[in-house]
């Protein structure tokens, strides 16, 4: 089926909806949001702790301080022009969300309540500051709901449970997408002047993850297959506190409210590693410290986890400020955090890297940041890059709304000044061949087995601590899995609501993404932020204060680099 729109937004999470809302407010622009999930099921809804903005509702705060923390938190790989825009715009954007109806928790004076969060400090690192604006511990849920509600109000058109399989490019211009209507298996061609990718993260490449089953990096892999380079893919964040063995996130808000990490000796081990910020040091550091404790035999009972202690917070704080956290812990671990210690381990959480964009969400395709006309990206699938080598808590929600909004506004301008580019012949050929092949192959290995092996390998070899040896091992393994994947088969041959087919397509994306993560990690012979190399334990600004770009050149991968934008803050040693 054929559809014509001015703009097609792929993804109905926070980034996609924020963009769609900007477009919906401009009369005459026709926008479709195409999403493989109902928008309200997007993983933005899982975000818990809060959204960072220097409102200063409790104590003095400034967006410049927020910017400094963001840059330092990112181990100076952050593009500072982007961080400046984000931290500055965060304030007005949070107010805008409040005006749109977001039910923030309130101070006694009726203002938006704020709490502490990892890596956020006053006066350039002096001590923790209350900057995270929150709605209990379901801030992401409230952002997603509020934006979805506003899109309903503004009559945005949704195509839910439509899985996008390909971008349509014609002569270097993006002019649409091809999507599978999951319900009946029909392919739809969406012809548009502008396309925005807002497809979220890819935590499902790892075994232990806080991410949804749908977080399979579709948009990132689809762009990569079309020859668009991917930026800083080696920068993947492991959040220190996932529920042991499950990976379900226990929000940093728990530590923001005063929770502490303890080793087997019952000792608050962060005192040793980060004397100022303690348990509120940035995530990359804490995850590494946990691995260090485990390596030195101080994991609980000598095993690969530590404890999160919330007991001293008392029942009232836990029930009123962290109700969902308490619920997750009770339901899935069978433990009461009011009286018991919570077993936690680092969990694959957030992609700092992704599709490179400029400050207005325009996708760029080379070392000189040349934009690809008609193509935009924002949110976790994109890399602006505000998070550099390590994202601070609360900064993704800021990123999705600030850059989702900027992309939306820029697309409104773009479609007003540009004509629809004609479709190339057979725009759905690639997508259609992919689907036919998977539905047609009657014999082959199971997709689930390949996925399980991939996730185990990535967890074991490409997580918190890496080396030439582990990465080469993983590289060979992923090659092998890709080869096996090309011969894998599914049992379900129906076109009607075939979720085995969609899962198989998603595994293809995860394999491509894993390959780029490994390539970036091998090339970056230093340690910075979320990327730690045992064999190169120090940061090396001379050689690697630059962004990695991974190109898919048909027969192989090519690695290139582009400079980091440094405006206000010169790189310094990163201590907390």
């Amino acid at each position: 089926m054929y559809h014509k729109y001015d703009v097609v937004v792929v993804g109905g999470g926070g980034a996609g909806l924020m963009a769609a809302l900007q477009l919906a407010r401009v009369p005459g622009i026709r926008t479709a949001v195409v999403s493989k999930l109902y928008p309200s099921r997007s993983h933005t809804g899982a975000a818990q702790g809060g959204i960072g903005a220097a409102l200063g509702n409790h104590e003095e705060d400034h967006w410049e301080w927020h910017m400094f923390d963001t840059v330092k938190g990112g181990d100076y790989l952050t593009d500072q022009d982007a961080a400046e825009i984000m931290c500055h715009n965060a304030v007005e954007t949070v107010y805008e969300l409040e005006h749109l109806g977001l039910p923030f928790s309130r101070t006694p004076q009726g203002k938006i309540d704020q709490r502490r969060f990892g890596g956020h400090t006053r006066n350039f690192g002096e001590g923790p500051v209350r900057r995270s604006c929150f709605a209990a511990d379901r801030t992401g849920h409230m952002i997603l709901q509020t934006l979805y509600q506003q899109c309903i109000k503004h009559e945005v058109e949704f195509f839910s449970e439509f899985q996008v399989l390909d971008l349509i490019l014609n002569d270097g211009v993006c002019c649409g997408v091809v999507a599978l209507n999951v319900r009946d298996g029909e392919l739809h061609t969406f012809h548009a002047k502008a396309v925005m990718l807002a497809t979220g993260g890819y935590g499902r490449a790892w075994k232990i993850t806080s991410n949804a089953l749908a977080s399979t990096g579709d948009g990132v892999a689809i762009a990569y297959r079309q020859g668009i380079p991917l930026e800083d893919m080696e920068m993947y964040q492991f959040h220190p506190t996932g529920e042991y063995k499950l990976g379900i996130l226990i929000s940093e808000a728990c530590r923001g409210e005063g929770g502490m990490l303890l080793n087997d000796k019952g000792k608050r081990f962060m005192e040793r590693y980060a004397p100022t910020l303690l348990d509120l040091a940035p995530r990359d550091m804490i995850s590494r410290c946990i691995y260090q404790e485990i390596k030195e035999g101080r994991g609980i009972n000598g095993q690969d986890y530590v404890h999160l202690d919330l007991r001293h917070l008392g029942r009232e704080v836990i029930e009123s400020k962290l109700p969902d956290q308490a619920d997750f812990i009770r339901v899935y671990l069978g433990i009461d955090p009011v009286t018991e210690l919570v077993p936690t381990q680092p969990t694959a959480h957030y992609a700092m890297g992704g599709i490179p964009t400029d400050l207005d969400g325009r996708v760029t395709v080379d070392e000189r940041n040349t934009p690809l006309p008609g193509l935009y990206a924002a949110g976790e699938c994109a890399c602006v890059s505000v998070h550099g080598a390590n994202r601070l808590g609360t900064n993704s929600l800021v990123d999705i709304v600030v850059f989702g909004r900027r992309a939306g506004k820029d697309m409104a301008e773009f479609v007003a000044h540009n004509e629809l580019v004609p479709l190339p012949p057979k725009p759905d050929a690639y997508a259609s061949a992919q689907v036919k092949e998977l539905l047609g192959r009657t014999e082959g290995e199971s997709v689930a087995d390949i996925r399980t092996e991939l996730q185990a390998e990535m967890m074991d070899k490409v997580s918190v601590i890496r080396s030439e040896e582990t990465l080469c091992h993983a590289q060979a393994k992923v090659q092998e899995l890709k080869e096996r994947y090309s011969r894998a088969a599914i049992q379900d041959r129906q076109s009607w609501f075939n979720t085995e087919l969609t899962e198989a397509l998603e595994l293809g994306y995860l394999l491509d993404i894993s390959e780029t993560v490994i390539a970036g990690a091998l090339a970056r012979k230093e340690s910075r932020g979320g990327h730690y190399r045992e064999d190169y334990p120090d940061r090396d600004d001379k050689r690697f204060l630059r962004h990695t770009l991974i190109y898919n050149r048909g027969e192989g991968i090519q690695v290139a680099y582009k400079p980091v934008k440094i405006t206000r803050f010169e790189p310094m040693e990163r201590k907390y």
Partner: protein
């Protein structure tokens, strides 16, 4: 442990009528029912069809009937329901395939109560003020994840599919009791009509079904009182 899972299956494009398929799988007692379904799909029968995403009870994808009760498969542990598990789609919506039901009418009803803040006053430069006490009035109903468990557990809804249903009313409550909202008049049409809140017979099935622990029946009672006395 070994679990026997009976699943009600139906593909309207190929099956004449629904049937039950039985699978025996090895899982841990602390696994979720969603893990059981995944185990079946990934290692026994790839054609089994259901929705899922977050796997920890926050996205609302996998509401279904588990041993006769509406629950989220990802928030129900095997040890709670035992080693014989019957899984069926929610009642009252058309089955698309197996455990997947058609949600179009569900979302239409949600939209009918105008589930968004209505307030045309120009906003201040900063935030609109709201006291913690004012916010508390609607805190509970902000938790809704639109899973549909309440509406499809409601006998009034089974009897009359035009009933807007508890889920939509929970979301109406969320705005009616928000001190910043001025849209009560615009919502009365859908909320106060014959197919609106008055169809609620306070049976409490919805409250029992809600995986977010929302006091659904109470929310509808609050709305009724608001319509009568305000």
């Amino acid at each position: 442990m070994e679990v026997t899972c009976r699943v009600r299956r139906y593909n309207p494009t190929t099956d004449e009528k629904p049937y039950y398929a039985t699978y025996t799988v090895e899982v841990e007692s602390t696994d979720r029912v969603l893990d059981v379904l995944n185990e079946i799909k990934w290692h026994h029968d790839g054609t089994l069809t259901y929705r899922r995403s977050c796997a920890h009870g926050v996205c609302g994808s996998d509401a279904m009937r588990i041993n006769g009760r509406n629950r989220l498969a990802c928030k129900t542990l095997v040890k709670e329901v035992g080693d014989r598990i019957t899984v069926e789609p929610m009642m009252g919506f058309e089955v698309v395939r197996d455990l997947v039901v058609d949600l179009d009418s569900f979302f239409e009803k949600y939209k009918s109560v105008k589930p968004y803040l209505i307030n045309d006053d120009p906003p201040p430069a900063g935030e609109r003020l709201q006291s913690p006490e004012e916010r508390e009035l609607y805190d509970d109903t902000t938790k809704c994840i639109l899973c549909g468990a309440c509406t499809t557990a409601c006998p009034s809804f089974w009897g009359n599919r035009e009933f807007v249903g508890p889920a939509a009313l929970v979301n109406a409550h969320r705005f009616i009791f928000d001190s910043r909202d001025k849209g009560l008049d615009q919502r009365v049409g859908a909320v106060g009509s014959r197919e609106g809140v008055w169809r609620c017979r306070t049976i409490f099935n919805c409250t029992d079904a809600c995986p977010r622990g929302i006091k659904v029946t109470k929310a509808m009672e609050d709305v009724k009182r608001k319509l009568l006395y305000d």
